[in-house]
């Protein structure tokens, strides 16, 4: 990130400062449209919204601690067939990493796209976010105290509440590979937000918006502190998982409440197949096949193929899993999918030294091979 600039925050109001910054991006025609989280009039949800009229930014809130969908999927919709206009998209780290994977899977392009990463201050489940909005006078936050904590490199939920599991063990609070990153962690957000930008777009933004160049000296250290805390939480969670899941019966216990609704695949940014095999006639079995299965083992669970679905999905996408946890958020049965996919994913990704969403250049593990690898297969 070669250009760093300061967006001034007045009276400690970070959200208003962000809205103003985004409005100026549109008005100065740095971008022709913006995809940004906007608070719905109902007040209980924040959804990504494609904005062309700057006035529509009045309720934009990129800081809202909720993620109803992984926006990489939305960017795929916007760009898959090419986009004529320059679109700016505001993404959290996990969304940007998923987008990188989708680009490599040829489901999205970065052409004519300005990616704006924003430091993630954690997200609640959508239902909890809705509840917080109605219960607390100041809404779901982030509160002044939370923003101050972020300045010190601590990202904490409101008292008595918890972030989504994915956020609790996320070691990527800041976005990488973005054109512009909106920095909040390790930044004194009562007075300023720090923009970190790629050279070309950075020059353009500084010039058109008349920004001052500047930096937050404590940022690197604060981010480092947050990351190491999260890594510790992550490793402890992984160890817990491996202690729990040891054999066939403990594995089955993990999935015992699965109802084969396939919501996890719908919500997953990496699961992009237009027609998932589990939704095809292959899995609309003839009636007597169920009886055959029941006969073979004496009984057969219905709906069938729950574990087959989970294991197959894992085989297909876990090498690219960015750990956004949308699978678990979408699950009506509260299966512990985030931890499972992250813990297993870590080992699978390690086989190829692959970091999902880490770079555009690194090839997808399942799309390539080396002639000289895995010599244990003879």
């Amino acid at each position: 990130m070669s250009v760093k600039a300061v967006v001034e925050v007045k009276e400690g109001d970070v959200v208003t400062a962000l809205r103003e910054f985004l409005r100026r991006l549109l008005e100065a025609q740095v971008v022709d449209a913006l995809l940004v989280p906007v608070e719905l009039p109902s007040g209980d949800a924040v959804v990504q919204t494609l904005i062309k009229d700057p006035d529509r930014l009045a309720n934009a809130n990129p800081l809202a601690p909720v993620m109803m969908v992984n926006s990489a999927k939305l960017v795929s919709s916007l760009t898959r067939r090419g986009n004529r206009e320059k679109v700016g998209v505001v993404l959290k780290s996990c969304e940007m990493r998923a987008l990188i994977e989708l680009v490599k899977l040829q489901q999205a392009t970065l052409e004519n796209l300005v990616t704006l990463g924003i430091d993630c201050l954690g997200s609640y489940e959508a239902t909890q976010y809705a509840q917080l909005g109605s219960e607390l006078d100041d809404g779901a936050g982030p509160s002044i105290e939370q923003l101050r904590a972020a300045t010190e490199g601590q990202v904490v939920p409101l008292d008595g509440y918890e972030f989504r599991v994915a956020c609790q063990i996320c070691e990527h609070p800041t976005a990488t590979n973005v054109d512009i990153n909106i920095g909040l962690i390790g930044v004194d957000t009562e007075t300023a937000i720090i923009l970190e930008m790629e050279e070309e777009i950075g020059q353009e933004v500084v010039e058109k918006l008349g920004l001052q160049e500047g930096d937050a000296p404590g940022r690197e250290e604060a981010v480092g502190q947050l990351v190491s805390g999260r890594e510790k939480a992550r490793d402890e969670a992984f160890a817990r998982f491996h202690e729990t899941v040891k054999d066939a019966s403990t594995l089955l216990a993990q999935f015992s409440t699965c109802i084969a609704c396939h919501n996890c695949a719908q919500a997953c940014p990496i699961c992009y197949c237009k027609e998932c095999i589990f939704e095809t006639d292959t899995f609309r079995h003839p009636s007597d096949r169920y009886l055959l299965w029941a006969d073979r083992k004496g009984a057969a669970r219905m709906p069938s193929d729950t574990l087959l679905f989970q294991l197959t999905r894992m085989n297909h996408m876990v090498s690219s899993c960015v750990g956004c946890g949308m699978c678990e958020s979408a699950c009506p049965s509260d299966l512990p999918l985030t931890l499972m996919f992250r813990a297993v994913g870590e080992k699978v990704q390690e086989l190829f030294g692959y970091l999902p969403g880490g770079s555009l250049e690194e090839e997808l593990p399942v799309a390539t091979f080396k002639e000289d690898e895995f010599p244990e297969y003879k």
């Binding site: 089955l252 299965w293 669970r301 197959t312 085989n315 080992k347 593990p365």
Partner: protein, 140 residues
């Protein structure tokens, strides 16, 4: 467990391992009858779903037999299969299932003896392990 006869589902590539199995037969080589062969055009076409399905249905072992690296009829299908099987075996291991019930072996069309020996070796290894616990698990 002496009378336990493991069931092996074998996905064999048309050009190498399947022809190798054929050669074992025409050469009158003896090997245990515990294997159910499924001919596939290339190991690169063996989606992990087939292997998982076999294991969850209670197959005691799954063998994927393909061409030696460099010999694939379609240039590199076997090398892609190798990555997929490495992923599958890693996942099985992380989830507490036995990865050694899944074997990937390179057997050329000329290696009838190797095919027969591989089956004998695999049957013995699976006998030592005992039946696949998934064979009894109805709640999957």
């Amino acid at each position: 467990m002496d009378d336990f006869e493991p069931r092996i589902v074998a996905f064999l590539c048309n050009w190498c391992a399947y022809t190798g199995a054929d050669l074992a037969g025409t050469s009158r080589l003896q090997y245990p009858p515990n294997v159910r062969s499924i001919r596939v055009m290339c190991t690169g076409g063996v989606d992990p779903i087939y292997v998982i399905k076999a294991l969850l249905e209670g197959a005691d072992g799954v063998l994927i037999g393909g061409c030696h690296p460099g010999d694939c009829h379609y240039q590199s299908g076997n090398l892609k299969a190798r990555r997929r099987m490495a992923i599958l075996r890693s996942i099985l291991e992380q989830l507490g299932l036995d990865p050694d019930r899944v074997w990937l072996r390179w057997i050329s069309a000329a290696e009838g003896k190797l095919f027969a020996d591989t089956i004998s070796e695999m049957v013995q290894a699976l006998k030592d392990k005992g039946p696949n616990p998934m064979g009894e698990a109805w709640a999957i």
